[in-house]
Point group: C2
Chain length 199, copies 2
């Protein structure tokens, strides 16, 4: 593996490991995911695991959570920032999340939630990585609401509440194998946002 | 262990095992919790584990989730059923959950959520146990709302949305180590319920 760090092949192996880890963490969490399973799913050579992630599973998990968290932040930013009707956009997001969850055989919910709940008792690094992304997602929603004329404190409250509702709906939909909690939450949030934005 | 089943001592061991399992599942989930840790935390003799739970960790986990789910159902029923002001009662519940979470060193959130998210990929029994309790909790809220004069379909939507928001707030509060998401959610749900109930 020596010398592979800066090669295109090496970078490809690193990406494969991160993607496989992100998918496994999203599906089953931190403790159920073993390094052998990651290597197998990724198709990357085992040596690249120790080369790129000498800190082992915790380091790899943090890199994967960073990747997933940043991807969702970008998606959220795109949807929330551009939409003329924020409530309708949030409802659409819930619909898309429901479709993705069902299409994955009820495996792919929030990419952070499972790990956030189980690993916060065991890894401060993992906990902080998850917490920082949730905060970033909240801030995107709060800033957009503030931009629509809602006072800072109220925008923050609505953003926290909205994110909580979507996270909870993802959880209920996953375990109940039913898209209804996400559709219901999307509709209720659209109504709530309509009230706040037109106040 | 033979012959212990019907003795008071045996029943005590069984209860200890279930309580220890429930606490560990709540804190860290299914995969991080090993049988040795359960025996150690419970103080019950190891033999009682195999005697009462020949199905191993899955069987013990289901028994513990049944216990936790039933306990929360009872608490919810008491709070939601008796309160003259449902919104104020829900806000108080969120406050109590925030206090309990902080007092446990940010370990004790929803007793089902961690397991619901991670184990649904691996154990159909565990998934169904969690799902059935979430449904029961939703029904308690929906029935109370219907009793207050809200049409069935709307009562069901508000109940699903409210439960999702509280579950998400428990998740955010746990990983962010901050009671704010629960307090915010309690306040927002009180406002929401006031609108629906007085419609």
């Amino acid at each position: 593996m020596r010398g592979e760090a800066r090669t295109a092949k090496g970078e490809k192996s690193r990406k494969k490991l991160i993607e496989a880890t992100a998918a496994l963490l999203r599906k089953q969490g931190f403790h159920a995911t073993g390094l052998s399973e990651i290597v197998e799913e990724s198709g990357a050579p085992r040596g690249s695991l120790y080369f790129y992630f000498p800190g082992g599973k915790e380091e790899l998990a943090c890199a994967a959570l960073e990747e997933s968290g940043a991807m969702w932040r970008q998606l959220l930013d795109g949807v929330v920032g551009a939409a003329p009707d924020l409530g309708a956009a949030v409802e659409r997001v819930c619909g898309v999340l429901a479709e993705a969850l069902a299409a994955s055989g009820w495996e792919s919910g929030c990419p952070l939630a499972t790990v956030a709940l189980e690993a916060s008792a065991h890894s401060e690094k993992v906990r902080q990585t998850c917490a920082s992304h949730y905060t970033a997602w909240e801030e995107i929603i709060a800033e957009r609401l503030h931009g629509l004329g809602i006072a800072h404190a109220e925008a923050r409250r609505v953003a926290t509440f909205g994110l909580a509702a979507i996270e909870g709906a993802l959880l209920l939909a996953k375990v109940q194998r039913d898209p209804a909690p996400l559709h219901t939450t999307g509709r209720m949030l659209r109504e709530l946002l309509a009230q706040h934005v037109t106040k």
